[in-house]
């Protein structure tokens, strides 16, 4: 008999093989044509629409929904892609409840927004299913730009530049392009290899090449100076490659890993039944990465998954919708508790927490402690910027950019690696897109 949910330790195959398929299927199945038509009928076509205002990429939501309702979903997709070339992924991963759908006037009248995210997916899926690309590349300019990082910011910037006729080379540290879309988000949000399919589709614009397994500043790869020597401009969109440490004794014990590593490994796994998972999993943190790690632990067959956040649930960076998603999948959320000790001999066995409270000097630990059994601990307490070249100003752990996204002469930056980032795919896309406009202007004037 193979392992079950009750088996102690970190083991693979806790579930029946078919359970992995159902557990990791599309968690929000796409709308059918009939559902889309009905959902589209609910849009009021608001003036100066609040949903559009709430979208970091300013997608013309009323227009694309009207295009769906009149039977032209591909025109709708073009409206979306004109603002957000990663509109397909954003339709899947955006926290719409806090963005467009949260702003929908139907929330005011009946508490149920127009299903903007689902409709966006309907439109973009329809166009992408044909594998046709809606834009045409302008005549070649002979200029070339280096983009560091093939995540949402880098891809959006590269597409914007390539479309305007520039040659773009994207350098990425991972084997595959896509960034967090490929390595960082929960598997069930974009199943079926969507992230790679989207990159392939985006590349159809032409003029973009990708250099994989290349890290800025790593010996043998290249540094910023090399890039500036070979290209007229550089865009930095490498995201946050490091992770914050707990800074506790015993952090090096077996079984304690960054949540991002676990998620990336899960995303790249060919066979989820072979992916080991603990019986008692503890996730420390309160953002979307913490939720994604916790829910996927549960779906892999962990018996007990507890998400512990040092502040209250209301203060969690993960939206209420995300929290509810975790709760309905059987994740226990403990709020107002911070880790104080790691117990175990070689490998972690228990983790000890102290309850916290807001004091005069901010968050304080109380004397009240408790222990949770843990054979696996995922740290999700924030990511950090990797080493930066000297000429790039870094403040508060993020690249400093001016209003035009410029970090240094001939260097622009966008996405999570900058202080303007919001840990959102859609914001990264907006900044990459806008940087492309700035860079284009610079190249054509210069």
């Amino acid at each position: 008999m193979s392992d079950s949910q009750l088996t102690q330790g970190i083991v693979p195959g806790r579930l029946d093989p078919e359970r992995y398929c159902t557990n990791f299927a599309d968690h929000t199945p796409p709308l059918g044509a009939q559902e889309a038509r009905i959902a589209a009928d609910r849009c009021y076509f608001c003036h100066d629409a609040p949903c559009m205002e709430a979208c970091p990429t300013s997608i013309d939501v009323p227009l694309f929904i009207r295009q769906i309702s009149t039977g032209t979903p591909e025109a709708a997709a073009k409206t979306i892609f004109a603002q957000n070339i990663l509109g397909g992924m954003c339709a899947r991963v955006c926290p719409t409840e806090t963005l467009c759908e949260g702003a929908c006037v139907r929330m005011e009248s009946e508490g149920e927004p127009v299903e903007i995210g689902a409709l966006q997916r309907f439109a973009t899926d329809t166009l992408m299913a044909r594998q046709s690309h809606p834009f045409t590349r302008a005549a070649k300019t002979g200029k070339s730009v280096a983009v560091v990082g093939a995540g949402p910011a880098g891809l959006a910037c590269a597409h914007g530049l390539a479309m305007r006729g520039h040659d773009v080379t994207i350098f990425d540290a991972r084997p595959k392009p896509g960034g967090l879309n490929e390595y960082g988000i929960a598997s069930y949000k974009a199943p079926g290899g969507f992230a790679q399919a989207e990159v392939d589709w985006l590349m159809q614009i032409g003029g973009i090449s990708v250099v994989a397994n290349w890290e800025l500043g790593r010996k043998g790869d290249g540094d910023l100076g090399d890039l500036l020597a070979d290209h007229e401009a550089v865009f930095l969109g490498m995201g946050l490659s490091g992770v914050n440490a707990l800074r506790m004794e015993g952090e090096d014990k077996d079984g304690i890993v960054p949540a991002t590593e676990f998620i990336a490994e899960l995303r790249q796994a060919d066979d989820l039944a072979k992916l080991p998972i603990g019986r008692d999993v503890v996730v420390i943190g309160g953002g979307m990465t913490a939720v994604d790690a916790a829910v996927q632990s549960k779906l892999l067959g962990a018996l007990n998954v507890t998400l512990v956040y040092r502040r209250s649930r209301a203060q969690m960076p993960a939206s209420l919708h995300e929290q509810e998603h975790a709760l309905t999948h059987g994740v226990r959320i403990i709020e107002n508790a911070a880790p104080v000790a790691i117990h175990g001999n070689g490998a972690v066995r228990e983790i000890e927490f102290a309850y916290t409270q807001e004091g005069a000097s901010g968050l304080e630990r109380t004397d009240v402690t408790f222990r949770l059994p843990a054979d696996q601990v995922f740290k999700a307490i924030g990511q950090t910027l990797g080493d930066m070249p000297e000429k790039i100003e870094v403040k508060g752990g993020k690249i400093v950019v001016d209003g035009a996204g410029r970090a240094a002469p001939r260097v622009w930056a966008g996405g999570d690696c900058t202080h303007a980032g919001e840990d959102l795919t859609v914001t990264a896309v907006a900044q990459g897109r806008d940087a492309a406009v700035e860079i284009h202007q610079f190249l054509m004037e210069g």
């Binding site: 009905i38 009928d41 609910r42 076509f45 608001c46 003036h47 100066d48 006037v105």
Partner: protein, 432 residues
Amino acid sequence: MADLRSEFIGIKSPNPFWLASAPPTDKEYNVRRAFEAGWGGVVWKTLGAEGPPVVNVNGPRYGAIYGADRRLLGLNNIELITDRPLEVNLREMTMVKRDYPDRALIASIMVPCEEEAWKAILPRVEETGADGIELNFGCPHGMAERGMGSAVGQVPEYIEMVTRWCKQYSNMPVIVKLTPNITDIRKPARAAKAGGADAVSLINTINSITSVDLDDFAPEPTIDGKGTHGGYCGPAVKPIALNMVAEIARDPETAGLPISGIGGVTTWRDAAEFLALGAGNVQVCTAAMTYGFKVVQEMISGLSDYMDRKGFVSTSELVGRAVPNVTDWQYLNLGYVTKAEIKQDDCIKCGRCYAVCEDTSHQAIDMSADRVFTVKDEECVACNLCVDVCPVECITMRKLEPGETDLRTGETVGGYNNWTQHPNNPSATAAE
């Protein structure tokens, strides 16, 4: 519960809801189901003359237009009168009337405009025990080209002539069904009255093409690549029908002529509106063809509930109640001033009122940076467009009281003053 029993030109029915002459009343089977569902009466699908019956197309007979969520708003048909032998229809009518003596059963008839043809069919219809006849002078397609249907309804002299024959050769009450495909509905109504009609019913369907197939470039419904105009009905035609009913009700020459109201009746409210504008009862088709016969149950409960609220004991108290308030534009009070008012607590900030007022009307709504919409009384002409487009009904029209100042004109709101008295009207007569 209010008493919905209805008596229309002497024909009694348990409620004023009849099924119009149309596919739902083509056969005994359907009519029995209708009566079981609660319909007060039916006008049997139009009978033709003895002999080989007409034939229908074997492709689609209906086309439709839709509102949100594919709600059917308008239906168009190219079906003809009954395509079953006359004797079969007459036999079935006899049996149905025998089994449902309390329900109204009216025979709709369309035969050539020849005295002999009418003389031949009327006694046979009378034998069925039918309560009355309705002369189909309305169908705009297929039969009109053969000199029947709306081809008759468009010529008042023919209407009068045929009506007279019917009164001459039968003892049954005669209802003349009018076509709306004319410029002045009062003319055929007057002709029907002159011919001795007991009532008119209206409207029949309106000439229409509902849509065009943009791949085959043919009107729909399309029959082997071709299409033809059909008769339009359903909720979309109700406003046209209401106006025509009112025109007849308030025409001094036809005032008091009983009217059976037809055209887009879908709910109790539609029916009540027809009654208020002078219809003695209503006929329904598209609502049944959209939802089935059960819809009559909502019409019955809704009308009854409304009458209870109003304290009306009988539908006759409702019939015609709004007719005195239908007038000509020149008699509308130009001294009556209203202003739009937005209930901020109910506003969901969609901005549609702003968009339409700013783009297509009088720039009378202000939009603040935080999406608060307010009416500029100094610009508002009270056109009502904002009220019409608001999805949550948070805008109303406030009537300015006499003595208040209309900020748009700077004038003090006064009493009654219509166009016939207005100084800008060259042929105005001085107000008292």
